[in-house]
């Protein structure tokens, strides 16, 4: 239990919203067994913003898919407010790295999608979707189809669509990976602003260090295969935050600190992928 106390060093007596307890997941492939996530434990407090950072292939998506319920077969336990999570449930929402808007629905119909599926009547769901589009800054684009919008706007639609279901926990798997740097920064600002407003417990996967520092209360660094938690960095920068503080000395110190730990894992990942390429 020693690693547990290290992770949960402030709110020891309050029940965490989300508890990941000794979770392990292996895949059996033609080439043998791959342990994607190895014995990961983590407590996340209500309203906390956590980023997970680690080299490609270290098991970040696998971990998120288990929390989100897309992978139901794993060892260990995931508890939301004390209840075990296996399979998808409305209180946990996910935003994906890949383009995930429905191309046949307009922006507002995309956002209203989960409400429609849940049987909310038309007027109410449209009004709600309109509010959420406004929240992500897409007022005026209600009736545009995704193909008529930029990648950043489509990702904001996807975020609004997930928020429409009012999840307690928001999981985002590299949601800005496909976007250019400026859009990424501005969208990051939008996400902190919304998260501070709605106080959702948020788990963000990223491989961008400054993004992790910019948005999070804590940053988790994962090791390269098998995916374990290497270190947790508490980001005690003041809120409200914006991308403008990225020039500050304190910010740079956090980035350097995280890179120091991440570097080793990233080079392991690089060596492995080079070895795999050479073997081919």
């Amino acid at each position: 239990m020693s690693d547990m106390t290290a992770l949960d060093n402030t709110a020891a007596d309050t029940l965490p919203t989300l508890r990941i307890d000794r979770v392990t997941k292996s895949f059996h492939t033609a080439k043998g067994k791959i342990t994607a996530v190895d014995d990961v434990s983590l407590d996340i407090r209500q309203g906390e913003f956590i980023s997970i950072i680690g080299p490609s292939g270290c098991g970040k998506s696998t971990l998120m898919n288990m929390v989100g319920g897309l992978i139901a077969d794993f060892d260990g336990q995931i508890l939301l407010d004390g209840k075990a999570v296996r399979g998808c449930q409305p209180s946990i929402g996910m935003v994906f790295q890949e383009e995930s808007t429905f191309p046949w629905r307009t922006a507002i119909e995309n956002v209203a999608f989960p409400l429609e599926a849940a049987g909310m009547e038309r007027d109410r769901r449209v009004a709600r979707a309109r509010e959420l589009l406004d929240l992500v800054g897409l007022t005026g684009f209600e009736n545009h189809y995704p193909s008529e919008l930029s990648g950043g706007m489509r990702q904001r639609i996807a975020i609004a669509r997930t928020l429409a279901f009012e999840p307690k926990v928001l999981l985002m798997d590299e949601p800005f990976a496909a976007l250019d740097e400026q859009t990424r920064l501005l969208l990051g600002d939008k996400v902190v602003q919304i998260q501070q407003q709605l106080r959702q417990t948020t788990l963000l996967i990223t491989h961008n260090i400054s993004e992790a520092v910019h948005l999070s209360d804590r940053v988790l660094i994962m090791t390269f295969r098998p995916g374990r938690i290497k270190r947790v960095v508490e980001i005690n920068l003041p809120r409200p935050r914006s991308s403008e503080m990225m020039g500050s000395e304190k910010f740079a110190k956090f980035v350097a600190e995280i890179w120091h730990d991440l570097r080793e894992e990233a080079s392991k990942g690089l060596r492995e992928s080079e070895a795999a390429a050479a073997a081919r």
Partner: protein
């Protein structure tokens, strides 16, 4: 002073646009046909000039019950394509859903799609008799393979992240089909439906012609037998018209479904 062509043709016809392009192409084709036929470059008996074909249309209405034949072929094709669409979509769904069946039978369906099924008409004649059922059955069988193939392809290619989105929102299985799988694969399925319709029409008219029963196929056969060559061409024009009608209808259906999904 404006160039004199502008006085001969309205400006919209000269400006490049799809409608005028079609009109000009058809006009050009008919003109070449007319000249070639009248000048004796083609046998006037085998390929009569358009100026002889068009006037016979009236004759087809009065002496040959063109309306009845047209409606009959239209109805038979509609029934065959409808049954083919229904069965084909179910079949495609099954091949998508059942991995073993998909791997085992998809190639067969593709082979059947390329086979001249119309040659099987004697078999259908034996099973159903010399009546509309044979014709509709033949048309249905011909329209099935493209619908099956395109439905399977469409469903196979639905991006898994869209399905995951549905799962995270707790969609029921039926909602997954109705709200994600079907709308996502609809454009591909429609390609199959259009092909199925064409295959149905070809086979319906073909079998009508071969077994000499009802509809445009029979009409064309009769006109040919009586050496009413101009009338035969006019009737063929009506078959083309049927196909245009169907394309128009599927297009309407597609726009309607795409906007309603």
């Amino acid at each position: 002073m404006p160039p004199f062509e502008e006085n001969l043709m309205p400006a919209w016809l000269l400006k490049p646009n799809p409608i005028s392009a079609r009109f000009l192409f058809l006009a050009g084709l008919l003109a070449v046909w007319e000249i070639a036929s009248v000048a004796g470059l083609m046998s006037r008996f085998i390929v009569p000039p358009p100026s002889e074909i068009f006037p016979t249309i009236a004759l087809l209405f009065t002496d040959y019950d063109l309306t009845g034949s047209f409606l009959r072929t239209f109805g038979e094709t509609f029934a065959a394509a409808g049954l083919g669409a229904l069965g084909g979509m179910l079949g495609g769904w099954w091949l998508h859903h059942n991995r073993v069946a998909g791997k085992a039978y998809t190639d067969w369906v593709a082979a059947i799609a390329a086979a001249p099924l119309v040659l099987l008409f004697p078999l259908f004649l034996v099973i159903f008799g010399r009546n509309a059922a044979t014709i509709v059955a033949m048309g249905t069988v011909a329209s099935l393979p493209p619908v099956v193939l395109k439905t399977k392809e469409g469903l196979d290619n639905v991006r898994s992240v869209l399905v995951d989105v549905g799962r995270t929102f707790g969609l029921t299985r039926w909602q997954q089909v109705k709200m994600i799988m079907f709308p996502a694969s609809l454009p591909t399925i429609f390609t199959g439906l259009r092909l199925g319709l064409v295959f149905a029409l070809i086979n319906v008219v073909g079998v009508e012609y071969l077994i000499g029963f009802g509809g445009m196929g029979l009409l064309i056969a009769e006109l040919g037998d009586r050496f009413e060559i101009a009338g035969m061409y006019a009737a063929i024009l009506f078959v083309i018209l049927t196909s245009i009608c169907f394309f128009y209808l599927t297009e309407k259906l597609e726009t309607w479904l795409l906007s309603a999904r």
